[in-house]
Symmetry: C3
Subunit: 669 residues, 3 copies
């Protein structure tokens, strides 16, 4: 288990380094991330490299038993490069230059930038490839953050044209695939195609938009590959990672993560996205990141205090940092670096707080981190080699996420809203769930949920049929099978290729406007009351052919039409949900499916805000119990459990205070 922080040594006087490293050692650190934005400190003018300060720094860390990840500082190319190549700046859809002054200002497709990168990263790897204290490299920083995946410059236009040419070969194939005959948008050559910049009104062709998103995502991957190539060839024994952003959806993270040795995650629980702080969203970040390579991962940035720039987010209360730290580990983090060691006194992120405040004096956050460090020293041997294994999976598909970004259907609707809804059920029920790619092996799972699988190719449709045929259970929902891979609608009755699998047909559908809902009842005779459920966002008017009707609408002109169906197919089952269920209906339905498929927690605590997670290795189960609530919660652990903080056996009744964390193991250990 790696534990430490991001350290911006170049921002502080060298005489301070010793004090900082000494405090880190006392806190139990064994890893730091360095140099992520230090280009000018290494190369102030072209080809003039200065490594002595970094040599000294790495040496000092080595002496303190702390290893190092180096960040390649390519996220912010220096002004002296930009002034030489003004066309390196990104441009927005209006054609405005997105100029210097922050970061991520370079275009991923620019032809001049790679030579500078090769020189810099080449020099860095040459210098540190044999340094035993340097265990790996983080490439760039949060690709795509602050709206930087898409660029509308002329270089990108040409690159996009080339990408399209390779994909479609002929312009007629492209015209056919996008359906440019609509509104007379046909092209006569690839050279006629622009980036989807400002037009009369922002309703570009959906196929065109989807291809631009695919092209842009791949451009980032290609950009990353340049650095992977440099490092891999020079230092094949050092790990390569990138700090991804969990639910961020502009880049296909499955593709970005593929050539990496290990996935990296930046996670800030107190910087949630337009919602109250809650445990479900960071849990989803973690489960998604574990899914990018279906393996444990590193948290490269973990909140260490109040996040914020010109405004501040909510300050974590005493005990909160520790709780979120353990949530990370519980979900599969094998490394955890706090961002950042000490709060910057300058720059836009003056209010992005580190473990130490601006003063550099250790305070309550340092004490809390040091406590975690001491605890991890005890836990580490148990965690070593342990992994997270689950029986259910949510299939998260970037193409379909983009389909809904391009066409939300209902105002403000998002593909990830549905993913979040399903995922939350599992967290609340303490049932582990994976979030994996459509290319993952489905047969590892008892059941899989395929949210909003509108766009689907034949291969994936076949794979789903085969999975159910041999006994798998699938859950699909509205818009399933509606689209071809090129984002055209299928010219067939819904749910397109899934008619037989799901045993239903759909001719009619519509949105449920914001603030309105439709009523449902369950027909399966279980539970207290079958009525009183509601739904929103969408309805399909399902014509049931061969399925069991699990629930039906009881309102509007489609009253008595199925809202949820279950079709037996082969040895398996295929569920269809024709609307967005409310939480109680979703819970009732997933309870049934989990029970049917045996995707149940081994052990439970009866509180929706107490999270229970398991890491496993050999015969050992390591349970993490996190009290995210404001309640004092008491529960009965499995017999024979051992508290891994104390090595003491657990009492029959255990109490956990708010922010409380318990890590215990079954008796085998």
């Amino acid at each position: 288990m790696y534990f430490g922080a991001c350290y911006y040594a170049e921002q502080w006087p060298e005489e301070r380094w010793e004090r900082d490293i000494s405090l880190m050692r006392e806190a139990g650190f064994n890893l730091v991330r360095l140099t992520e934005f230090a280009w000018n400190k290494i190369e102030r003018s072209e080809g003039q490299f200065t490594f002595d300060w970094l040599d000294r720094l790495i040496e000092m860390f080595g002496s303190a038993g702390i290893q190092v990840i180096l960040g390649t500082p390519t996220a912010s190319p220096p002004k002296w490069i930009m002034d030489r190549h003004p066309d390196m700046y990104k441009r927005d859809m209006y054609g405005h230059v997105r100029g210097f002054g922050t970061r991520m200002h370079y275009c991923f497709n620019n032809a001049d930038y790679p030579s500078y990168i090769r020189k810099l990263v080449g020099a860095m790897t040459e210098r540190y490839k044999n340094n035993a204290n340097v265990i790996g490299w983080q490439i760039d920083n949060e690709f795509g953050c602050v709206d930087t995946t898409w660029c509308y410059c002329d270089t990108c236009k040409a690159a996009f044209q080339g990408w399209l040419k390779r994909k479609y070969s002929t312009i007629d194939a492209l015209n056919e695939s996008w359906g440019t005959v609509v509104w007379n948008n046909m092209y006569n050559s690839f050279e006629e195609i622009e980036t989807p910049k400002l037009t009369v009104y922002q309703l570009h062709n959906p196929g065109y938009q989807l291809d631009f998103r695919r092209f842009s995502s791949e451009a980032v991957c290609r950009f990353q590959d340049i650095q992977i190539g440099i490092i891999r060839s020079a230092a094949p024994h050092q790990k390569i990672t990138h700090n991804m952003m969990g639910t961020f959806n502009e880049i296909d993270y499955y593709k970005l993560a593929k050539p990496l040795d290990i996935s990296g995650l930046d996670v800030y629980a107190n910087f949630p996205d337009n919602e109250p702080i809650n445990p479900y969203t960071p849990a989803l970040h973690h489960d998604m990141t574990r899914g990018f390579k279906q393996a444990n991962y590193w948290v490269l940035e973990h909140q260490s205090g109040t996040p914020g720039a010109h405004i501040l987010k909510v300050t974590p209360k005493p005990g909160e940092l520790r709780r979120w730290t353990y949530q990370s580990i519980a979900h599969g983090a094998d490394a955890l670096l706090y961002f950042r060691w000490r709060t910057a006194v300058a720059g836009a992120e003056q209010h992005w707080h580190g473990i130490l405040q601006h003063s550099g004096v250790p305070g309550r956050k340092y004490d809390e981190v040091r406590q975690v460090g001491a605890e991890l020293a005890k836990l580490a041997p148990h965690l070593d080699g342990s992994i997270v294994c689950n029986q259910a999976a949510i299939i998260r598909c970037f193409d379909n996420d983009w389909v809904f970004d391009i066409q939300p259907h209902n105002p403000g609707y998002k593909y990830l809203r549905q993913v979040k809804n399903y995922h939350r059920y599992f967290i609340e029920k303490h049932t582990g769930v994976d979030v994996v790619s459509p290319t993952a092996d489905f047969t590892k799972y008892n059941f899989i949920i395929l949210p909003h699988l509108a766009l689907v190719d034949d291969a994936l449709a076949d794979k789903i049929y085969r999975y159910v045929e041999i006994g798998g259970t699938v859950v699909m929902d509205f818009r399933a099978g509606a689209k071809l891979p090129d984002n055209r609608m299928r010219s067939e009755v819904l749910p397109g290729p899934f008619k037989k699998l799901l045993g239903i047909e759909i001719d009619d559908y519509g949105i449920i406007p914001e603030g309105e809902s439709q009523q449902l009842q369950f027909l399966d005779g279980k539970g207290v009351s079958s009525a009183g459920y509601a739904s929103s966002i969408w309805y399909d008017v399902v014509d049931n052919k061969t399925a069991e009707v699990v629930a039906e609408f009881t309102s509007d002109y489609f009253a008595e039409c199925p809202a949820v169906t279950c079709n037996a197919y082969g040895k398996g089952k295929a569920y269809y949900i024709a609307t967005e269920l409310d939480a109680s209906a979703r819970t009732r339905l997933l309870d049934r499916i989990c029970k049917e498929t045996g995707a149940l927690p081994e052990w439970n605590v009866d509180h929706p805000l107490v999270e229970v997670t398991v890491r496993r290795r050999e015969e050992q189960n390591i349970y993490f119990v996190l009290n995210h609530s404001n309640d004092l919660v008491s529960f009965t652990p499995p017999t024979g459990s051992v508290n891994l903080f104390t090595d003491e056996p657990l009492a029959t009744e255990v109490e956990l205070e708010p922010n409380g964390v318990l890590v215990f193991s079954n008796s085998l250990v």
Copy 2:
């Protein structure tokens, strides 16, 4: 009566055409609109025309008894033209190019575009001028839609300068008219004048803004004239129309409609403008369109299902399409084409639903349309030659609509809000009303309402005086007479030229802020209670000279001042409303005026959401009763009425279910 759909044959494989045409024939279609966006399908490269597919298509329709309107596909010039003439793109007020990818991307004043149009439209008319199955032409598509009336490119700047030179002759006349002495904005030559693009803050001179709107509206008319000229000279026997957008206010539709043979309307009841779906707004679209040429009109696009692009609007319930269809006919539509036959599988409007869903399989909407088709076969002989005749009119003035766009007075206020308020009264009371131009013959009407006649020239003022003098009744309201035709304020006591007519003077006034209201009482002694009325938006402090005070304010410092006055003038009456009345006060006032002037329905149903409308010919009155409510409504029809769907006499008591439609005639038939 024409009945059919918009058919985008070019979007579907030719082998499908026969099936589609066969389904259309079964649905009772006798008209389709074609080729509106098919430029590339006709002319893929300059001068290379391909008509054989269209020949075949028109021939197939002819064989099925279905006639054709051809759309000139100039709303979306092909990329091969745009690439040759990049200055053909519109520019926004910041100078940004509004580029390719949707439609309406051309500048109306561009000098290069007309030659391409002449070639294309010339070839089309040459080809089809003698085709008996082609009854007419729709020019372009929804001029001005998606914010395309105004362009800020250099061509428009030069054209605007020319327009101003023609209008003002000397720059001093322009300076005087706009009052450029204010803020020192005086010009020394026409060449100094820009389009009203980005300035320090968007408070351009009101006269300048109004002239730019007039210039832009006329530019669209001139652009349309090019095509009218081509078609008229080649095919004088074929009808020419354009699909206008009802309440759309950027183009003076009276001027645009003038050279057309018939007005066209696109109407989508389920795509209302920031309000719940309601019958009043589409009714206003219809009445306005009938007013553009004071004649019956064609509905060139009528909703055929869920409207939508990236988001979907509300899906029409069973029976809704039929109800809206009859509303169109009831208000004077002599043709009705659904948009569109089948839902597009590609392009931005994948969710703009046709009669058929993407699958092409007939469903509930097709069944409903087919029912209407069968009914219309019975109704058509009765409708033939019938028109809508009303005793009251609302005078809708584009100049004043623009005056309020430029200066809303109260935040978010709109000229059309007041028009809508007045119009709604008539719909609720089942009293027919026309919406016509200030240039219309007022003497046809018992009374006219002149909403917000702020800007007025002497000729119109005189015309109004003369109308009242000979016995007409006029209703005017706040800001009447405040402005000169050049959008300067008049340097005289309000209501300017109408002081004598209205018998009042106004020195003081103000807005009523959002969320506040003022209280009123009626003084005419009628009605249950004279108090308890309220008003909003505006108040005038009226100094009554010779009028009757109909209602007075009872709140604020202007309590006891008149809120509504009625001045006897000549043989007529002139009402003035000094505020925006609430619905009950408006109803009370208009009830009085309708009664005084005899503008009353011949027959009535006591439900505000049941619409009753009449078309007349010779001695026959054709009544349309539409149940827009969710109630089962029962009523007593006039004695001797005959149901035109069944030719049966009506019972004494008739019941109409929600979405129900009844069309009956007096006994003469």
Copy 3:
């Protein structure tokens, strides 16, 4: 006392002038402002000056006993200049030209503009320097209004680079001061530095942003200096002023006002900033303006009716104009000009109403103004030489205002919100308060409030220490001492340099999110109940060292930590407020401090919306009592008071109706 209006003679036919001047004379006017936007009327083409109309006009005013201030019409350079120098236009942060059509379209740093100004203003001063009826000059108009302080053109870039070079000498000093090492934003030369225009996301370095604001503010001052130089050298005996905008914060008004002879204010009580109309905001405008030079001032524009452009603000009710007029005088205005004499019939401000409506006919506003004129004739001898003297001051610091604009900390938070909160207390309590610069002499005051003194240099910190040492009382609040003068955070424990003065230390803090609050109790044992107070925006977790705890938090993890402290230091006291107190807590605290320091009103009326203000001269106190409420208020004036409108002694019990104004003097007069 000067009394009059802004007169745009050039907007009206010359034959009207006589009537206007006659009406003005009847209203008691003795001053008008002329020519503020009359450039073209004076110089229609380069060097061709026309003064005869202005000669006649000034002569006519002179004959009527009305003196003149001339406005230099540089706020709106004519189109003929702009067309010659298109780079004179301001550019926005996207690079868009902010073009012609309104005003303030010129760049303050442009090199070509000054020569035109020298010719125009030179000619004007030459013409009128010896005209006895011209008492002074207003330079330009409302510098910075409508978002014009900042310009992003290339000229400004070069000027900014020069300014930085002068400030920092070396680029390394700049890099150090801004902390550009963060995000690798280091510069190698001053020529690399851009204006803070569009970047990837708008989080420019805080030091960079602050310097750009300082540079931009100084650019305006330098621009003003050009004209001051011209006028001063030609006409040293004529007064120079500029119409500032009270709480407007983009220009450091202390610096702008310094070279002026007298501060000017434009004040529109009915055009409040996103809040209901209230007396506190205009009172703050007045007190701030008096503070710019710590002297009486001129109101160069005072509302004369409904303000508005495309929308109208609320119309002042009868009596309102008079009430606001007296508020101006009560706070120290020695001149008051209504804006404007007559409402413009053209231009963007057609709805910015003058004393006369568009018609030019005198109405209720004229009558009210004439009443004031008559009253002022009686009051003027008393007011002559009288000033406002207070015992308490709020220190308003532009640097810190900008610090919070750049980093609001809590969404939407503003430095001026806190200033407004403190200031309102004094108005409600009828205790006079000054609002002055950090450079003011603190020792004049019994106590001073230093809101949000985050950024502070050593000199100011020392000055505060010395002030308290000799017996002064200071009130400081959250973020005090957090920042260095270059907008970096201090690398020390909070409150930085004030630890000893305040007797506290702070390690932990955070925002209180919108809609939430924290609870407080007072520990000083006074008042009805010590609990029940709340706070918002921010909390510090105060570690009390030597202070008295005045109030403490009773909620959240910092319950029992101090919320308000008072530290005895030297002969004085230093209060610290760790949060934004609610109104009742603020009142309770300031009541205590006012009592301790003797900053109490001499006499009082028990109504928070009745304002009581005092101007003093020699032994005479002139009391202004303004009833801003809707209540009939009765009160007991000090014995022996004399009504200055009537010269009658006041009764024991006086009644004041809504909008009522009473001005009385102590018996000495």
